[in-house]
């Protein structure tokens, strides 16, 4: 079956989506894969997912928090709520992978135990 994809309808200034082309995929195992166009100005430390609102934030090593630019679509939230790690793939203009990194996924407002 083909990958189901939801494209952002608007680009909000100051968000990750306004900085570069970037797509996120999540599989049934809640593995997260992020394809992005440019290096981040400051390397990422982790991403934060709000289990209640579906909002997604990128946090860099200087502590700057930036909203992804769109909430995780409702049909992806069950999968995202179990995500623990994201594989970041830096894509070159020929759409080939030129670098990769793994970043933890931290949950906001999740109930544990």
């Amino acid at each position: 079956m083909a990958l189901q994809f939801i494209k952002a309808s608007t680009v909000v200034p100051g968000t990750i989506l306004s900085m570069m082309a970037i797509d996120i995929a999540v599989n049934e195992n809640s593995d997260v894969c992020v394809l992005h166009e440019h290096n981040f100005p400051v390397p990422l430390h982790h991403i934060e997912y709000d289990d209640e609102t579906g909002d997604l934030f990128f946090v860099d090593r200087e502590g700057t928090v930036t909203h992804f630019g769109m909430a995780v679509p409702r049909q992806n939230r069950n999968r995202f709520s179990r995500a623990r790690e994201a594989l970041f793939l830096l894509m070159n203009p020929a759409r080939r992978v030129s670098g990769y990194n793994k970043v933890p996924v931290i949950h906001r407002g999740g109930s544990y135990g």
Binding site: M1, A2, L3, Q4, F5, I6, K7, A8, V11, L17, M20, A21, I22, D23, I24, A25, V26, N27, E28, N29, D31, C33, L35, E37, M70, V72, P73, Q75, N76, R79, L87, M91, N92, R95, R96, V97, S98, G99, Y100
Partner: protein, 143 residues
């Protein structure tokens, strides 16, 4: 009176001087010619050798690239050139693992949705899909 003896001596001295002056000139020209010839030969030999080594090096690189390309063609073999084979294997396993776990869902700018769909198709095609594994190892004979 003319001084025939003196004139004669002067004349001979002039001849000797001209001969002496002319000799280094000819000798230098000959030496220069030999030097230039030798230099040209050495330079040509060096250039030929450098070109030969360069051609051989390029041919070997081309041959290596040709041999490696089919191995990595189903995934992004440019990564191998940058990070080396162990990192490539790690990356491959991560990517295979990702598309191994059911249908993926995506969202974002949409710029890379085609790449994601292509990987999903190519890497989910069958279970013996690790391009770094020999086929016999990926599909062991029963029993």
């Amino acid at each position: 009176m003319a001084d025939p003896a003196g004139n004669s001596v002067t004349s001979k001295l002039h001849d000797a001087w001209n001969w002496a002056v002319g000799l280094p000139g000819r000798a230098w020209d000959e030496a220069k010619s030999v030097w230039n010839g030798a230099t040209q030969k050495v330079t040509k030999t060096y250039n030929d050798a450098a070109a030969y080594v360069g051609d051989q090096k390029q041919a070997l690189e081309d041959k290596a690239a040709d041999a490696m390309h089919p191995v990595y063609s189903s995934i992004e073999w440019g990564l191998q050139k940058i990070f080396g084979e162990s990192a490539m294997r790690g990356f491959t396993e991560m990517l295979l693992g990702f598309f191994d776990k059911g249908d993926a869902q995506g969202f974002g700018s949409g710029e890379f949705s085609e790449a994601l769909q292509r990987w999903d198709r190519e890497l989910s095609r069958d279970l013996g899909k690790d391009p770094l594994k020999p086929k016999a190892a990926a599909n062991p004979a029963p029993g």
